[in-house]
Symmetry: C2
Subunit: 190 residues, 2 copies
């Protein structure tokens, strides 16, 4: 009963995601991933060459899922201001997930940022991408200086992410949304 390569990969990634995200990357051994995924160690190593590669695949998958969740909140919103605020609604929903543990990129960066250039790079890219998206939304909303507005909004978002995970509360998303509306009032043309 050999398992399909694609499904084996997905099983491993799903198990790695749950374990890495919950306990941190270094605290999880390959053996735990083997047990959780049901994929043998041998197969695991031929699918992903090393733990480092698996970590990279984990982060890339997180990035995809995250972008999809963001889009699902932003896309339905019609007026440009509402699209920006939808990003904070997304944060609120995210924070409420029972297994929420902050941003996987921030956490991994904190663990391995100095020692693994690849992880540092992926974290940077993930955040830069979010910034790009917010800048687009700011532009669509007619902000005179979209990059500046986006920068302020990203500070509120990142702050809400770390605060919600340490304080174990979804509230920071609501506060960030409130603060964002004040900034929109100040920086968007009436």
């Amino acid at each position: 009963m050999t398992i399909d390569t694609a499904t084996a990969q997905e099983q491993v990634l799903a198990a790695a995601d749950a374990l890495f995200y919950e306990r941190g990357v270094q605290a999880v051994g390959m053996d735990a991933i083997r047990t959780a995924s049901g994929v043998s160690l041998k197969r695991l190593y031929q699918l992903f060459g090393s733990k480092d590669e698996l970590i990279e695949a984990y982060l890339k998958r997180r990035d995809e899922i995250w972008k999809t969740m963001l889009a699902e909140h932003v896309d339905p919103a019609k007026d440009p201001r509402g699209r920006i605020l939808a990003a904070f609604d997304f944060l609120y929903d995210w924070f409420q997930q029972p297994d929420y543990r902050g941003c996987a990129f921030i956490n991994s960066f904190g663990e391995l940022g100095t020692v693994s250039p690849r992880v540092a790079e992926l974290a940077d890219a993930h955040k830069a991408d979010f910034q790009r998206r917010l800048t687009e939304l700011a532009q669509e909303a007619g902000a005179p200086d979209p990059a500046r507005l986006a920068e302020y909004l990203i500070l509120l978002s990142e702050g809400a992410i770390t605060r919600s995970s340490i304080a174990r509360s979804a509230e920071p998303a609501e506060h960030a949304r409130e603060a964002a509306t004040l900034l929109l009032d100040a920086l968007l043309p009436a």
Copy 2:
């Protein structure tokens, strides 16, 4: 040539601080701290009972130093608005330190938050303390709802901290300060 207990403790803490902060808590072995501090393993274990206790002492020391640095920026400022903005000047100076690697509490929480209740507790306490301080400053500035203003300011601060460490730039402190002035304009009586 036996060393004084107090100075031995301080040498260990200084070495642990540098290593834990740079490489993360889990990545640093007791042997590395022994080598860096010049204090024998035996002595080290009789000063601090275990690595967990040393981590705790490290975080408590960080908290003290951090509060002192914050106070050194806030105290000289006279007008209440300037005292709030001084917090962001502090962030800017902090981010510019060559060994800056983000917030030790956020990093440690990301590594050990799920597995070590003590670390989670210390991180929470550190952040709550900062929030308390900002609330005081907001109150002194005459904010109608000091807790709310403080909450917004803390979001900007936390956001600047993580962003500056991932992007390796002190700029987020300046942006956070700008955004803070906009919020002060909106929420402080003229």
